[in-house]
């Protein structure tokens, strides 16, 4: 029993590298081909079957169309957005899957956070308008021409700023709106112990008054 199990595990670790290498090789070829045509930055091989690249906003529809039509990335997995509030950017991630070689590529597009607008790809895949509708509600990104963009997606009568932006504080909003049950107080063990054990001592240290 134990022996058989060990054999299985050995088989796993002997066989797996083959597919790893195959995938890695295919991805390397792909990136080589892409770099001939387009300017890719921040290329990162996250896993043997997953890589991320950053592309220019203007070029991104071209690249995604190219990937779909010539590289076989026919399965659209995900459109997501990350708020890099420190850099004042929104990162759109288009994740595409190549069903034959079984690997994925994430195309990152950085757009301006103050004026978030992106070309709508709803004609390329039939489900994209859903993502775009959600991102419009959650991040306030405008996709001109995307169907039903202005319709409510998950929220109703929302009057605050888009809820997934980093500077929307959900806890503060919840406390302001939904009144948590009152009567709860907690104590920090360190301060509480000091107050109990040394009631007369000054709590904080004083430093130079001139500072």
């Amino acid at each position: 029993m134990e022996h058989a199990r060990l054999q299985l595990v050995n088989k796993l670790f002997n066989d797996r590298p083959k597919s790893y290498k195959y995938n890695l090789f295919q991805m390397k070829l792909l990136i080589d081909r892409l770099t001939q045509h387009y300017n890719l930055t921040d290329y990162k091989q996250q896993r043997h079957n997953l890589a991320f690249v950053t592309v220019d906003k203007q070029l991104s529809p071209d690249i995604i169309t190219h990937l779909r039509d010539y590289e076989g990335f026919s399965h659209f997995v995900l459109l997501s957005c990350v708020d890099w509030i420190e850099d004042d950017k929104l990162q759109l991630t288009y994740l595409l899957n190549q069903p034959n070689h079984k690997y994925e590529i994430g195309v990152r597009v950085l757009i301006d956070r103050k004026n978030p607008e992106m070309v709508s790809l709803h004609k390329m895949w039939k489900q994209i308008w859903t993502y775009q509708r959600e991102l419009h509600e959650a991040f306030g990104i405008i996709f001109p021409g995307s169907p039903r963009l202005e319709e409510n997606f998950v929220l109703e009568g929302w009057t605050e700023k888009p809820h997934m932006l980093r500077d929307f504080d959900t806890k503060e909003y919840a406390e302001r709106t939904y009144f948590p049950r009152p009567g709860r107080t907690s104590n920090d063990p360190a301060t509480y112990m000091r107050e109990k054990l040394y009631p007369n001592q000054p709590v904080t240290a004083k430093t130079n008054k001139n500072d």
């Binding site: 998950v154 929220l155 109703e156 009568g157 929302w158 009057t159 605050e160 809820h163 929307f168 959900t170 806890k171 909003y173 919840a174 406390e175 709106t177 939904y178 009144f179 948590p180 049950r181």
Partner: protein, 240 residues
């Protein structure tokens, strides 16, 4: 119909909608709920105000129990025949199917599921309520005939549960609806739910299942709370 009449109607409609707008500035009305005129097959024009034409305009009234002995008998019947509205409002509703299937079989205890609020007596709020659902829950609850009971499942209904800081879910159910029984758990097991039904039966038999009257009594307070968080209150106040 002359132009004068139409102008008059339009100005009336405008006045009405302005009056509505002044009542509550936050109210916004969906296109299909707006005042409109419909041409009937015979050519006459029918004026429709969907929000006020389709619903009753009466405040809810308290239905006080009248004859003590009769009421006691009826309470017994009510406790032994609890019809639950089949409205899965949250994740706790995943534990309802085990209850109506062989393992737990709540039919034995006189508890049955019902598809329409008009025929239901008990409302299971199965956990968290997003504001969007709360709006529907209020309507369903108000459509239920009195006496009616609310069973609240899990932490989320008591104090927000794990969604205490969510912008989308309410924290305390008792602010918006009167709750009869709370069951602790996230989510409560079917056994705990059955125990909750047991407790509800006991309450009804003791004549304490009168939360529907409490709702009617404190109607203004509940409505104020509900309106505070439901931003697009595009429904009438009374849904009976």
């Amino acid at each position: 119909m002359s132009d004068l009449n139409i102008n008059q109607k339009v100005s009336e409609m405008l006045q009405r909608s302005e009056a509505n707008a002044q009542q509550d500035e936050k109210t916004f009305v969906r296109p299909e709920d707006e005042l409109r005129e419909v041409v009937a097959p015979d050519g006459s024009i029918i004026k429709i105000n969907p929000l006020y034409d389709y619903y009753s305009g009466e405040r809810p009234q308290e239905d006080k129990p009248k004859n003590a002995i009769v009421e006691k008998f009826l309470n017994w019947a009510r406790s032994e025949s609890i019809w639950v509205l089949g409205f899965g409002t949250g994740c706790g509703s995943i534990e309802i199917p085990p209850l109506v299937t062989p393992r737990y079989d709540m039919f034995r205890f006189g508890v049955q599921m019902r598809a329409t609020p008009r025929q239901s007596n008990a409302f299971i709020i199965s956990g968290y309520l997003s504001v969007k659902t709360l709006k529907r829950v209020i309507r369903s609850y108000e459509q239920m005939p009195s006496p009616k009971y609310v069973i609240a499942l899990g932490s989320c209904t008591i104090n927000g549960g794990m969604y205490y800081d969510s912008y989308s879910t309410i924290n305390r159910l008792d602010k918006y609806l009167p709750v009869d029984v709370y069951i602790a758990g996230c989510m409560p097991r079917p056994e705990a739910l059955l125990a909750g039904f047991g407790e509800l039966k006991r309450l009804i038999k003791e004549g304490k299942g009168e939360k529907a009257n409490e709702y009617a009594r404190n109607f203004d307070e509940y409505k104020a709370n509900q309106k505070k968080i439901i931003k697009d209150w595009n429904m009438p106040d009374y849904n009976w």
